[in-house]
Amino acid sequence: MIRTQVLICGGTGCSSSNSMLIADRMEEEIVKQGLADEVKVVRTGCFGLCALGPVMIVYPEGTFYSRVKPEDVPEIVEEHLLKGRVVDRLVYRESEGDEKVEVPSLQETGFYKTQLRVALHNCGVINPEDIEEYIAVDGYAALGKVLTEMTPEQVIQVMKDSGLRGRGGAGFPTGLKWEFAARNKVPQKYVVCNADEGDPGAFMDRSVLEGDPHAVLEAMAIAGYAIGANKGYIYVRAEYPIAVKRLNLAINQAREYGLLGNDIFGSGFNFDIETRLGAGAFVCGEETALLTSIEGNRGEPRAKPPFPANKGLFGQPTIINNVETLANIPQIILKGADWFASMGTEDSKGTKVFALGGKIVNTGLVEIPLGTTLREIIFDIGGGIPNGRKFKAAQTGGPSGGCIPAKFLDTPIDYGNLTKIGSMMGSGGLIVMDDTTCMVDVARFFLDFTVDESCGKCTPCRIGTRRLLEMLDKITSGNGTLEDLDKMEELCYYIKNNAMCALGQTAPNPVLSTLKHFREEYEAHVVEKRCPAGVCKKLLRYEILPDKCKGCTKCARNCPVGAITGKVKEPHVIDQSKCIKCGACMDGCKFAAIIKK
């Protein structure tokens, strides 16, 4: 009889720090200690606390170990699993004031306490490669309920009543989308899952696919029943190898158990799913480009209307839902629309998953009820900014979103509010920036990304974004004028109004939002030829303070281009014409004699 289970995270984050090797060693060690009949190792999806990986939880105690190394395994098995003594040194500790406090279980950490896990509720709890574990936590019960007790119209009504909106970014009401597709009375329709998560720094969908793939399959079958489709496609990035592997495994298992295929639950309903791998083009996350790509053509968007719900994949009515949207659906069916609508705000119901990244202590995945403030996410759950630095801005929505300055930290996050303050919900990437981040450089980074990823089909996006990037380059290299700022703004609105698809229409957002909230930083670059955050290299100057320099010669030896000269025990000098502004001199100076201007 199994008395103890060790759950080890097998998400991408922990896997890349060797968690699968740890799981293998753990199993060997358990056999060696004769515990094979009593202790079981379970490989799960992402727990969310990626910064602390590899992580594991030992149940039933719920002991939470972080940053485990393969060599810690024998000690954990002998001490904890055999003798019941928790290995203190590996237990996660949380900073409380100046003290580090031991946190015995995951649920008690500041990171988890205020989270509300709906889309992620099985991630880190079940083994995603075992369909029976999913069934044990009420998996496929929603599909059973829909097929045996409900009409397609009733399913759509529940979705509409729940208030669920698309989690891919635009926030279109899911029930309404289904209704549009259901109205078309044709024999062939499709359900497509958009798993082409491309925003830099976003990994919400990957974690759902890796941690709970069956929830996505179940939701797609429910959607198929509701709109009258018998075929589904999951368009997933080839750069997500673990997600692709688990999805295919899940599809095969579901077919084996008769949960995909013909006559599911004896209802006469047929549904099957196939995966399609994306080659990593950002534009393929745009729904019409995604459909074109599934059809086997180059991923370019098409004009809307006609909308996919009327004329989509292979010209047939198609609904396209994002991974996280789908992950909510089985629970809405089981627990009811009222339950879901009780969470969130008037404008946005339910919860949202955010991928926390950038200058934040707890890098990882969080799920919170909509209406939570940015301050709660960043400081209470995320643990704040490391190294005692100051919060400057948060970037949401990736290359389509904008930067939110500190004055909006207490704004409740929902679809409407984020748009009002010049950003957008996007798919849920949340990048935190501190005072060492240059906002002009951030805008330049995202523009650089969109210029690369523009498919080139329409002129405003293909040429407009490139011109915009050139203007930003001009500003960051110290050659900008105030007139450029106005021209840039004008061009932004031109691209927004004229680009063909969402990629182009939202590409200027990073520029517009930083211009709006951080105009003084642009002006410093243009007027004073100065980068206040000290990031833009062309505007930087390293200098040695003669009164602090002891003439130890370390900086001269560290300088890779020989730009520093001086006699021993006498102040040194930097030759500005040779300096490449790498900062090696400043990093190495023991006397803080080198400053950056």
Binding site: M1, I2, R3, T4, Q5, L7, E38, I57, Y59, P60, E61, G62, L82, K83, G84, R85, S105, V125, I126, E132, E133, I135, A136, V137, D138, Y140, A141, G144, T148, Y257, G258, L259, D263, I264, F265, G266
Partner: protein
């Protein structure tokens, strides 16, 4: 999958395996599993407890281990922590005492006094 019953069967069969991870037991049964405990035979006791809890489908009970309590001569020691009750310490435990404790104490709420430390020591 041709019927909801089939799905329900798999769910029933798998439920206990996953329920362990919820760790929301109101009653905690703690087995001393230090070297002294193991040497005195704590592992069969632990396994018997886990098996009975699963067999009786006691959802509010968690069975866990702990280290040495300090009274090695009385091992195997099993302690029961229930809400609104004093902690009860059973000593010199054996697997055949387990069913009685589960039946009378865990399910019935009445500690089996004859196996407790007070009775054995006096």
């Amino acid at each position: 999958m041709k019927s909801l019953e089939e799905l329900a069967q798999i769910r029933e069969r798998m439920k206990n395996k996953v329920a362990l991870r919820e760790a929301n037991g109101e009653i905690r049964i703690v087995v001393g599993m230090a070297t002294c405990g193991i040497a005195a035979g704590a592992r069969p006791v632990l396994n018997a407890l886990v098996e009975s809890v699963v067999k009786e489908d006691l959802k509010n009970v968690t069975v866990t281990q702990t280290g040495c309590i300090g009274m090695c001569r009385l091992e195997p020691i099993v302690e029961v922590f229930a809400p609104d009750q004093d902690r009860v310490t059973y000593v010199k435990m054996t697997p055949d005492k387990v069913p009685e404790i589960i039946e009378k104490h865990i399910k019935g709420g009445h500690p089996v006094t004859k196996y407790t430390i007070g009775a054995v020591e006096n």
